[in-house]
Amino acid sequence: MRRLPRLVAYASTQVNKLTMELNKLSAHELIGLLNKGDISHLDICNSIIDSVDKKDKSLNAVVNFDRDKVLERAKAQKGLPVFIKDNICVKDELTTCSSNILKGFRPPYNATVIEKLLKANAVLMGKTNMDEFAFGSSTETSCYGTTKNPWDLTRIPGGSSGGSAACVAADSAIWALGSDTGGSVRQPAGLCGVVGLKPTYGRVSRYGLIAFASSLDQIGTLTKDTEDAAILLKMISGHDPMDSTSVDRPVPDYAKLIKKDIKGLKLGIPKEYFIEGMDKEIKQSVLDAIKKLESLGAVCENISLPHTEYAVAVYYLVATAEASSNLARFDGVQYGLRASQVKGVIDMHKKTRGEGFGDEAKRRILLGTFALSSGYYDAYYLRALKVRTLIKKDFEDAFKKYDAIITPTSPTPAFKIGEKTQDPLTMYLCDIFTISANLAGIPGVSVPCGFTKSNLPVGLQILGKAFDEETILRIAYNYEQATDWHKKRLIF
């Protein structure tokens, strides 16, 4: 916990001075201040607006932001401000997946998570930058240009939810939503030094999340600490008749449950996640974190997830196959871009897609179409689905004995902008530690666990059983209470 009592005392005497810094507080701290009546939600909105105005020219984390509109919305909604990744539909607001093919698109309806946030009185601030259609690990494939990592503006923030992660890390957001298909919430959270949670597949409705890979996609949260992740998860979770893959199970009161200690919990440390060639400082930070968890009473043991080496290969066949099918809808007929100067409908489809999709989107559609095409289907797509069964089984076996699995979030800290854009395969390998959770459908959270010598954040990943977000958040919360990493903020 940050020193809340001191802040409250400070707020009641010097509200004006404090409101300038409200953007730096966590949601649960702000909820405390709001409930006491020391500040108003407008103070919070204003401090966020000021932070975006001041920092976003250099960060490029926000892609659709209108100060006046925010203040208008804040008249009706009196809760905390929230930023939304640009692939989640907000009624009548630009929702473009950072792609030219959707420029100008304004959805006629709200995603279910947006309806839930509005019911919780949230003030929608705007949209955050992302890799085009969430295709990437660096936010470099966005049609709006790269988002910068707040810790080092020459480096990427991770991706694809790079805008959401950078906003939270720079205190330009209290919290934000992202989406995670192969690590797109956890990896940028790790590289930006914030908390990123991917819930179990089926925990949060995907209705209104523009589909990338429907069997892997899940909406997740980017927050300053674990308690906030628990609060936001509860807000957006639950069964939704509009998403037939959302599961009808009760939503626990995560924020309360995570405060229990972790004595006696059994944690598996998979040897396949400490590979040759991974960054030494990252390895050390994660090993130190494991020691810390042991000192808190957890029992850590080395385990093996033997099919981990196939995860990236399986993922880039399954995810691209599903993407090629999902992105067939962008054909210039119902919404988005339509190419001019065309000869007939087929030519219109081809030119629209040729002009509208960026390089990585084309590459993934080609790869996915190839893997699904006649003559190659069995050798690529079907084989990948069968190996996916083995990856899922690795986790099922491990969770018979262990309560959670501890790994690094990424093999390296944030890399330089442009460093990996020429070689797609090197970029795909950035997701090596996060992908398996999506293939198995299990939840995962990345929490800050250290910094490299050059002051770049390191993420610790905690993976859990399906629908057991409670335990991974509990481990994360206990770890946070015993460390200071999540409190380290930038002077920016």
């Binding site: 006629p108 069997s215 007939g344 409908v345 084309k362 190839f370 084989r383 689905l385 190996v387 069964t389």
Partner: protein, 95 residues
């Protein structure tokens, strides 16, 4: 070689994407490298494995067959690149 220029051209046609000669060239090289990498899956004996296309153990999800209000037509049509009355307008389909 896992993939050549002709296969990339054919795949692009299936995926309805117009590519320049330069793009075909660079995608061929890149896709070849990626496919080489995924060939590691050949090492796995998959003969006795069932495919996992979905992680949840749910079968069919049914709902009541009740008519509910739909979105207003004008709201749905407002993003249309071209519209005539309540229809999406496109070029000629049959020559």
């Amino acid at each position: 070689m896992s993939i050549n220029k002709d296969t990339v051209k054919y795949t692009a046609a299936l995926g309805r994407i117009e590519l320049s000669e330069k793009e075909i060239e660079h995608f061929t090289g890149q896709l070849d490298k990626i496919l080489d990498y995924v060939h590691k899956l050949k090492k796995v004996d998959v003969s006795k494995l069932e495919p996992t296309s979905h992680v949840l153990e749910m079968k069919n999800v049914y709902r009541e067959d009740k008519v509910k209000p739909s979105l207003p037509v004008d709201d749905v049509m407002k993003n249309a690149p071209a519209r005539e009355k309540n229809l999406f307008k496109v070029g000629k389909i049959i020559e």
